[in-house]
């Protein structure tokens, strides 16, 4: 019985080869279906990434006619530039504050919510910052943290302390941004931990209770924490990456100031690349960013694996 296959490609395939072969029909379809994505992947991701890598070794700059190969000059400049060192320090500070705090707080809330009847309400409240447009909420935070008239300072004054210029004082600005960062990330980590907790079988807790671990902390250390290990690893890696990628709050609220106290790696990259058009230098920055973030993630995964293997082999 003839099949009404008026698909020109299909017919072409059959006629050329003189017959049907299942493997070949599938291979042809596969290549056709994957073609657009492959082309775009090459043009928009792999190609540009390779180009950036190449550009990092040149003195390319938008507006300059030629491009000269200058070897590692951009990288040495990066390492000796006090401005860049500053943004590295700032980013490191941000990461060190935001990562443990948002993970710890997220975990704590996940643990507490598990016991509560109002879990859905709390979950909604904590996840709201994740759903919202950060730029808009950051401007709200800015008003709340206003040097003299903002809510935060009004509260401080009520408690008898003196007002703090959160965002305009170089010694506090980064901390203020970190606080906003934590605020935005907690809900997401919480949800991941809630999902992770829900997969721990109740029987493990019962077995632990029989073995003597019947109070909160003991139970947590014996059952909860080890069982959460894969989730914790995932959350940590994700949070590290997102903390390192901080950009929006800096771009909107402080633009790197006051006095470069909040300039972070990605913001420096943005300025160098799209404000000063020092394309070669910016490329070097972005390559370093990529390398360090990937390196950190790999370290984290390795450490986690090592710990798991060590524990499995009896270490305590």
């Amino acid at each position: 019985m003839a099949v009404v296959d008026d698909n020109p490609i299909g017919r072409l395939a059959q006629n050329i080869s003189g017959g049907y072969r299942p493997a070949r029909a599938q291979a042809q379809a596969g290549m056709i279906l994957a073609l657009p994505a492959t082309l775009l992947l090459a043009a928009l991701v792999i190609g540009p990434a390779a180009l950036v890598f190449f550009l990092s070794f040149t003195d390319a700059s938008l507006g300059l006619a030629g491009v000269r190969f200058i070897g590692l000059a951009n990288y040495t400049r990066m390492l000796t530039d006090p401005g860049f060192a500053q943004s590295l320090r700032n980013t490191a500070l941000y990461v060190v504050v935001v990562v443990p705090t948002s993970i710890g707080w997220g975990l704590l809330v996940a643990l507490l919510i598990a016991r509560s009847r109002f879990a859905i309400v709390y979950r909604t409240a904590y996840f709201l910052p994740v759903a919202a447009t950060l730029v808009a909420l950051a401007t709200a935070w800015e008003a709340i943290l206003h040097p003299s008239l903002g809510f935060a300072n009004s509260l401080l004054q009520l408690l008898g302390a003196s007002p703090v210029s959160f965002l305009s004082d170089p010694s506090t600005a980064m901390y203020a941004l970190s606080a906003i960062g934590v605020w935005q990330l907690v809900g997401f980590n919480m949800i991941l931990f809630v999902a992770g907790l829900s997969t721990i079988p109740e029987e493990l807790y019962e077995a632990a209770a029989i073995d003597g671990a019947d109070t909160g902390l003991k139970r947590f250390l014996l059952v909860t924490w080890p069982m959460l290990a894969p989730v914790t690893l995932f959350v940590t890696v994700m949070t590290i990456i997102r903390a390192f990628s901080v950009f929006e709050t800096v771009a909107v609220l402080t633009q790197g100031g006051p006095m470069k106290s909040t300039s972070v790696i990605l913001y420096t990259f943005y300025e160098e690349g799209f404000r000063f058009f020092r394309v070669g230098y910016a490329s070097a920055i972005s390559v370093s960013f990529f390398v360090s973030v990937t390196f950190l993630s790999l370290v984290q995964m390795h450490v986690s694996e090592r710990r798991a293997r060590w524990k499995a082999s009896g270490g305590r």
């Binding site: 019985m1 003839a2 009404v4 698909n7 017959g19 049907y20 299942p22």
Partner: protein, 382 residues
Amino acid sequence: MAALDLHIDNVGKRYGATDVLRGVCLRIAAGEFVTLLGPSGCGKSTLLRIIAGLERADQGHVRAGGKALDTVAPKDRDLAFVFQSYALYPHLSVYDNIAAPLVMRELTSLERLPVIGGLLPGAGQRNRSIEERVRETSALLKLDALLDRRPAELSGGQRQRVALGRAMVRKPKIFLMDEPLANLDAALRIHTRGEIARLHKEMQTTTIFVTHDQAEAAALSDRVAVIFGGELRQVAAPADLYREPVDLDVARFLAQPFLNEVEVAAPVGGALIIGSSRIIIRDALGSGQAGTLAFRPEHASLVDRDRPGALPVCVTRIEHAGMDAHVFVHAGAGAEFVARISAERAQSLRGGDNLGLTIDSEKAWFFPWDGSRQSRDHSRVA
């Protein structure tokens, strides 16, 4: 409608370094119901898929009605396939599932478009013809009440019938079924088995059925093709297979769960020596080779120890199974046997009893190790 005959000539298939099928030759007459029987991994499903065109043989040919199928696309082979997991289209209703093969073949791409397609000239008539056939099939399988449901809303048995309907609606010349009953519970399996038998009787379509369940094979088939390790060992009617397995593998497979086996030296003076007993087995007469003596539990009986020609054995344990019981005995030197006797008789037996085991000399089989079995009638290739 005319069914097609099927010739499978020397088909072989390799995956990497393993031969999944080796030189399989099988001829199936038009309208015949043949079962491919064998343990999991023996290659029967692969053979079925090669016949369907879902995979390509590395050597050999498949011919239907005299025409070579090797380069013909599955959809053009005029056959239908029922999968073990039913493989229904999850997002389509029962009606659309059954109609799918007709829609894909008889409507052009334009006519298949959701709303506009139906408005094209000629489409209306074709759609009506399709609807008629779908309803005819669904009536036959008692699916009328379920036509609007999705597969997810159906029970296993209902999905099975939809899969059958989708296969039948095209009135194909050949039916292929890959363990279609495996996922059903016991009662439903027997019932659906009956349905398949009835449909075959009515439609007389050439059917190739794959299963690892020999009871199923015996109940449904005109002939059974037993496959082991990619090789076709024996093709015969179920009764012949039961009586005359061609080798030990086949005998074992068909005698599940128990086959009594004992290795013996070449017969001496027309008798086999087991322990200190001399046993006469018809199948071994005339063979000068050592081999394995095999017999089913129902071909063994328990008698008094002193009876001449009986093997002295001692009862180890008794397993009751309704009207019968399986009695496990051991004959010393690690030789263990199972005999099937009536439950009443089993009542009077106890562990430790010393009895004699006799073997039905007509029905037991002797398989020489060099494969030189002279058997009364067995058809290896048909």
